[in-house]
């Protein structure tokens, strides 16, 4: 009886604690969720058209590197703002190019889609590590800088309830700020436009789509290239908006957490965004708990959990979410199946 009482008191204290810290945390949560959300959108756009992409991690890493390299190389010649903007352009272009490679491999060559994605991840890890050691480390120069985040004036942010939520989306750099716009635009595009209808048709029943005159191959190419450009934007966020430097393997599994967010969101943009926010919240709580220790028994309990457990939380959560959700959500029917036109073996 006593244990149950303690449990409920702890839950209550956790609720109160969340209520107190959450308003301040919201911008951090969105910033942590941004690369996950963009990666998950990449997954949605690819898989809705029937192409499995587990190479998101690698594409993010490559884009992060080349975006950083651009910002880094041009930092002293053109102004800081321009070099960062060009870095983003390069990162998105690198994402798109790798998307072209992935679609060529999976759609045209009909290589195994999971192996193609694995190849992408290993190649990205090797390529960025190689160039990092060859070019950036020996130069010994400073970084590329980062976008200065926007700051909301205190009077608006101070408005109860509305203020913190508004600040969440506005107290950000340009990439995180645009995420919500991209999410809503993609949700509308996927379910309300001709592109969306074609995408879903090609992903659910390519043969039927083909008979009504939709070019399955072209549609899949288009989607994978576009999706991977979004993953490229996620990479740009990591180096040019979040950390301002490049470390080997800095994506740290985000590409795979993004896939879990996609599955959690049942292959819809808004749902995937929700999944990304969930992961962002878990990560943010792990960080804040050390800075603002809750009072009472909850504080003692949360402090007694080692930092490394909090750091592992997003990974463990991904596993739990996959185990809990995956059986009950339905992926696109033709996901992962290469399309072979009849009469063409």
């Amino acid at each position: 009886m006593d244990a149950v009482g303690t449990f409920f008191r702890l839950v209550w204290e956790l609720g109160v604690y969340l209520f107190v810290v959450l308003p301040d945390l919201l911008p951090i949560i969105l910033a942590l969720a941004t690369p996950l959300a963009l990666g998950a959108l990449c997954g949605v756009v690819c898989e809705r058209s029937g192409v499995v992409n587990i190479g998101i991690e690698g594409i993010m890493l490559m884009a992060a590197f080349f975006g950083y390299l651009t910002g880094f190389a041009l930092h002293d010649t053109v102004g800081s703002g321009q070099s960062l903007a060009l870095g983003v352009v390069v990162a998105v272009a690198v994402g798109g190019l790798l998307g072209l490679l992935h679609s060529w491999l999976t759609v045209s060559v009909r290589a195994d889609q999971i192996i193609a994605g694995t190849m992408m991840n290993i190649a990205a890890f090797g390529m960025t590590g190689y160039l990092n050691r060859l070019i950036i480390t020996p130069s010994g120069r400073g970084g590329a800088g980062i976008f200065t985040p926007f700051h909301l004036s205190g009077t608006i942010a101070g408005v109860p309830l509305v203020g913190p939520v508004f600040a969440m989306f506005v107290d950000q750099g340009p990439i995180a700020m645009s995420v919500i716009v991209i999410v809503i635009a993609l949700q509308l595009a996927l379910f309300r436009t001709r592109w969306g209808l074609r995408t879903r048709a090609v992903g659910e029943h390519p043969k039927a789509a083909d008979t009504v005159g939709i070019d399955v191959v072209r549609q899949r190419y288009l989607n994978v290239v576009f999706g991977c450009a979004l993953a490229g934007l996620a990479g740009a966020f990591l180096t040019l908006e979040s950390t301002g430097s490049f470390q080997n393997g800095m994506t740290g599994g985000r590409g795979f957490i993004a896939l879990a967010a996609m599955i959690f969101g049942r292959w819809t943009p808004v749902g995937a965004f929700g999944g990304a926010l969930l992961f962002g919240t878990a990560t943010a709580l792990g960080v804040v708990v050390n800075v603002r220790v809750p009072e009472g028994d909850l504080g003692t309990l949360m402090k007694s959990i080692p930092t490394f457990w909090y750091a592992a939380l997003p990974y463990l959560m991904t596993i739990v979410i996959l185990a809990g959700v995956v059986g009950r959500s339905t992926p696109p029917a033709a996901d992962g199946v290469p399309y072979v036109k009849e009469g063409k073996a």
């Binding site: 499995v52 491999l105 290589a111 190849m119 090797g126 490394f308 990974y315 029917a333 199946v337």
Partner: protein, 382 residues
């Protein structure tokens, strides 16, 4: 003479695509080396790849030490490659060898240091068992989850890799840190180290790895369990109609695969590293995937592929010292090998091959189960 030609033709049929994939990978990587040389202080160098590859070769095979280094580096890759290959046979893609390797290494380090004073036969054997058990337990988790819930092992094993790094770092920092060292690490393994058979570092793990390859081949080809693993890998639905239990086989395959991954870590710990400290890198994880694909998930093929990648790992440091071509070029070559194996259509076009054997057919099951199509949990109803 005619028989000899027949044998050669059969070898060519099996090995042509892997060999040509390696050749193409080296050619493309050479282009990367040449182009990237333009951005370094030494400047554009058209002949850099020749220098780099010859020091790679010299580092791997040029001396007695080089050859033993190659074999020592190959040993964990044989176990890791067998882990991934066994998974492929059962229709599973174990990307979690990196994590299983760490858990196996950690478990072996703990038991090994606890038995540091015991005779080697006891200490090393028990430490190996601990590593195997640790890896098996770590492989069971994604296997069980895939079997019960359909959570795809490609994501869960990668997440377990990341979690393993963090949780083992915590364990070494807070639970089992050995006193008397300036940094967090486990105690010395003392007598539990694997005996050195030859030269400076050729340890017992190498013949053990070769024996294991034959054991896995026997398991797959000659036992009922092996037959069931392969049937589930080829077609889970057909296996179910034949009265096999894909759910059980999936969990079992992943556990066995994890066990091999754990042994990879254990022999590296007991034969080479000697103590567990955070920051132990496990390039074995990704290497094992390339090894298994290159060996077509056949245990004997994996032996050859592991020696090849062992040579890359053993030769790369000399290459970096002599030509300042970064060792990460090995990862690039590895990715390219996988690329040309996965897209063997490219290799066939470039070299106008017709008779060569096709790739690994079980991969179809891996990819289909991503979308719930042919997974072991499919068709169970929920």
């Amino acid at each position: 003479m005619i028989r000899l030609r027949g044998v050669a033709r059969r070898i060519w049929r099996v090995a042509s695509i892997p060999l040509l994939a390696i050749a193409l990978a080296f050619v493309v990587a050479a282009v990367v080396i040449v182009v990237s040389s333009a951005f370094t202080s030494t400047g554009f160098d058209l002949f850099l790849p020749i220098g780099a590859y010859s020091s790679l070769l010299a580092g791997a095979f040029g001396s007695g030490n080089g050859i033993t280094n190659t074999l020592v580096a190959a040993a964990p890759l044989i176990f890791g490659g067998l882990a991934v290959g066994l998974g492929f046979k059962g229709g599973l893609f174990n990307i979690g060898v990196a994590g299983q390797f760490l858990v196996g290494a950690f478990a072996a380090a703990i038991v090994g240091s606890a038995l540091a004073g015991a005779p080697t036969a006891v200490g090393a054997t028990l430490a190996m068992f601990a590593g195997a058990l640790g890896g098996a337990a770590f492989g069971f988790i994604p296997g069980f989850l895939k079997a019960r819930t359909g959570a795809h092992e490609v994501v869960t094993t990668i997440m377990l890799n990341n979690a393993a790094v963090l949780l083992l770092t915590w364990a070494v920092n807070d639970l089992v840190r050995a006193p008397g060292f300036s940094f967090p690490r486990t105690g010395d393994i003392g007598n539990s180290a694997l005996p050195i058979l030859l030269g400076r570092n050729l340890h017992l793990g190498i013949p053990l790895a070769v024996a294991t390859a034959f054991a896995v081949r026997w398991l797959l080809d000659r036992t009922t369990i092996g037959f069931e693993i392969r049937t589930v890998g080829q077609n889970p639905n057909a296996a179910r109609y034949a009265g096999m239990r894909p759910v059980v086989m999936t969990a079992l395959t992943m556990t066995l695969s994890g066990l091999l991954g754990g042994v990879a870590g254990a022999i590296q710990m007991l034969g080479v590293i000697g103590f567990y400290a955070p920051g132990i890198t496990a390039s074995v994880g990704f290497d094992s995937i390339a090894v298994a694909l290159l060996g077509r998930s056949d245990p004997i093929g994996i032996l050859f592929a592991a020696v090849l990648f062992g040579a890359f790992r053993a030769g790369a440091p000399l290459m970096q010292i002599e030509t300042s071509v970064p060792i990460e070029v090995i990862d690039i070559i590895q990715a390219l090998v996988i690329l040309f194996l996965a897209a063997d259509l490219i290799v066939r076009r470039v070299f106008r091959l017709r008779a060569a054997k096709a790739g690994i057919t079980e991969l179809k099951t891996v990819t289909q189960s991503w979308a719930g199509g042919a997974g072991p949990a499919a068709g169970q109803g929920s």
